[in-house]
Symmetry: C2
Subunit: 238 residues, 2 copies
């Protein structure tokens, strides 16, 4: 029998109603590439990110003069400033700015969880900072994978497993079934996550678009200490 | 790039609408214990099983004189003939009979998938017969885990992984992300699945009820060659 606050994993945003509970910290995960891009944007000095679920909302912000990132099916939409690649946000243009973002999966997951007790953004890029903060909170944790169009995906579950593994090493938690499964998956993959994802559907999708460097960057750990947090309708630094 | 028909895993019945597609064979999985009990009942000579989602429906059948199995939260409900344990169905009483069954999770999964192209019942008890039949069909396969009250569970995913692993050894299939994850999980667990499930929520639940022998039996492979199949509203032998 394990003790401590629970860690669970919601494997796609579609399942969120089943996993919703009070006083739970929700970590939004979209490794390829929304949450990796969001962490990178804060590292490069963005002040505020407004996540929106639809392209229509994103277009309205663009017309008002905002910098806007918009991605669907792994590609940057025409007429917007950025896509979903972390490299898009490594620019002086975003420093001290507000940026609006809409993506295929990640911003849908944020939308699903927006009424949770606390919502933060996780990626391999900020994993250690995130885990240290989570341990300090002593609350139940839900790792919410964005998946692909409401289906399970491998890379988000892999990251959920990395977090479950780290948290169970540095704190006292009770891992529920999905967290146990994700942890076992991570333990099998951690020596070479890039290779592990070889047959994953989204890696195939991104590789076909020539985005292998994006994948490698999104699997790199601890490039930043930022922890983006949802505050009402926008993300700010914790 | 892998070829052949796809294998995917729907990790809880709640996700079924996301995974529904035409001409797909759906394998219903509720290892602890509904699909293990159903396979055992056919092995012991039952002619037909009527799965019903609610206790109300089960009660109506009972009043009409049917033999009825009814389980909620791992316990047999008062006033019914059987619960959810495979051992309940190892009896001459069911030979050449029709039996009605309602369970916490398994019969809900059957209900969710009832309009699929083909619906069959899987468990470790009939895994080889099932896999051989699946290969012969040359159709997309969806492994539908019953989970626990619409949440992910470890034992159903483990079995999905065992099927994905066997099928990829004896046939040519393209494993989608959830099938890959389940297969990796199975490969880590297969030497001692009982130990692997040590911290799983449902094993804890059943162990607390003194049902360790049930768990061991449900993890035993190839006790039977039966493949129960949904035909309209009831299960019969394929």
């Amino acid at each position: 029998m394990q003790h401590g606050p629970t860690i669970d994993v919601c494997l796609t945003p579609y399942l969120y109603p089943v996993y919703e509970k009070e006083e739970q910290i929700v970590v939004i995960i979209d490794i390829l590439r929304a949450t990796s891009a969001i962490c990178t944007a804060f590292q490069y000095g963005v002040t505020k990110i407004i996540p929106v679920a639809s392209v229509e909302e994103a277009t309205k912000y663009k017309q008002q003069g905002y910098l806007v990132g918009a991605e669907r099916n792994a590609q940057t939409l025409d007429g917007f400033d950025f896509g979903n690649s972390p490299f898009d946000y490594m620019t002086e243009r975003i420093k001290n700015q507000t940026v609006v973002i809409t993506t295929t999966n990640g911003t849908q997951a944020i939308e699903a969880a927006k009424n949770a007790y606390s919502v933060v953004i996780g990626s391999f890029l900020n994993i250690t900072a995130l885990c240290n903060w989570l341990v300090s909170q002593n609350k139940p944790i839900l790792l919410l994978c964005s998946g692909w169009k409401n289906k399970f995906n491998l890379e988000d579950t892999l990251f959920a497993g990395a977090v479950a593994n780290t948290l169970s090493q540095i704190g006292v938690f009770k891992l529920l079934d999905a967290a146990l499964a994700a942890k076992y998956l991570y333990l099998q993959a951690h020596e070479n996550p890039y290779k592990f994802l070889n047959y994953s559907s989204h890696k195939e999708r991104l590789s076909a678009l020539g985005l292998k460097e994006d994948i490698k960057y999104c699997l790199a750990v601890d490039k930043t200490n930022v922890i983006p947090k949802l505050d009402e309708n926008y993300l700010v630094l914790l």
